[in-house]
């Protein structure tokens, strides 16, 4: 009789555990749908940011082109005045190469973002996996173009400053 009483006392505990496990599993299932929604929102935000960054970077690349053309005019003027501009010419040639490389990466990103796969016309996610791949495919060349543009500008600016300091 005592053994039966002990077994009967354990039943409520087992039943409680079973209910707890069932609640956890149903909670996970309910949360799966919002996670997909938040993932889509994150991807849509990334797309907007990449489009804004592309426009901003386009303006900076145009500014770099202006720097190159103005620098070429300056070098021509200095050469006509009989100054040694070999250091400036070398620095400008390197800068031109770097800007061309940045422009090529920028154009690659622009091609991806022109018709972003996995998104509809209004920028809403239609296929999560494809949308994520689009974000990656556009983000990588965008970032590479940014890094090349930044480093190239720093290097050329330093070269100009050094030349001007040496030729006062």
């Amino acid at each position: 009789m005592k053994g039966i009483h002990r077994q009967l006392r354990k039943w409520p505990i087992a039943l409680g555990l079973a209910v707890l496990v069932a609640l956890i599993f149903t909670g996970m299932a309910v949360q799966a749908a919002p996670a997909q929604q938040t993932g889509a929102i994150v991807l849509e935000n990334f797309l907007k940011r990449e489009q804004i960054a592309l426009n901003d970077q386009g303006a900076r690349l145009k500014a770099a082109d202006t720097v190159i053309s103005t620098s070429q005019d300056w070098i021509n003027q200095l050469k006509a005045a009989g100054k040694d501009t070999s250091a400036l010419e070398s620095a400008l040639a390197t800068y031109q190469t770097q800007i061309a490389s940045a422009q090529s990466n920028h154009d690659a990103a622009a091609a991806v973002l022109a018709a972003p796969a996995g998104f509809d016309a209004s920028g809403k996610v239609t296929d999560t996996k494809t949308a994520l791949q689009t974000i990656i495919n556009a983000g990588k060349p965008l970032r590479q173009a940014h890094l090349t543009l930044v480093q190239g500008t720093i290097d050329f600016r330093t070269a100009v400053q050094n030349w001007r300091a040496a030729n006062k």
């Binding site: 720097v67 974000i135 990656i136 983000g139 940014h146 890094l147 930044v150 500008t153 600016r157």
Partner: protein, 128 residues
């Protein structure tokens, strides 16, 4: 025991009485001998102490006059240097005009550098 205690108290009383008597005698002696001399030293000592005190204020007036002179001197000196500086800039302006395009290149590079340094806009994008 009571006798010893009473004898000790009597000794104490006796010594206290002697001490009190000595004290009274000393006070009387002081009044008798120095009663007239006490008032006299105090007034003479005070005036000499008070006399030196007014002297420092007269000295402090003099130092205040000295700083006013020193302040006035520097004000004239910077005006001389300020007038010298514009002449230096006037000589520098013709040099800047000769390299106007160089200045323009420098300015464009500074602007582009500032635009670039706003931060990496793609730093937290998902990487492959």
């Amino acid at each position: 025991m009571k006798t010893t205690a009473s004898s000790i108290s009597r000794k104490k009383q006796a010594s206290f009485g002697v001490a009190a008597a000595c004290l009274v005698l000393a006070l009387i002696a002081c009044r008798a001998s120095g009663g007239q001399s006490n008032p006299s030293p105090v007034p003479p000592t005070n005036p000499p102490v008070q006399q030196p005190q007014p002297v420092p204020p007269t000295d402090t007036i003099q130092p205040t006059a000295v700083p006013t002179n020193t302040v006035a001197q520097p004000t004239t000196a910077p005006t001389a240097t300020d007038t010298a500086e514009p002449t230096a800039t006037v000589t520098a302006t013709p040099a800047a005009n000769t390299d106007a395009v160089g200045d323009q290149v420098q300015q464009l590079l500074d602007q582009l550098n500032q635009m670039n340094q706003k931060g990496d806009p793609f730093g937290d994008l998902p990487q492959p």
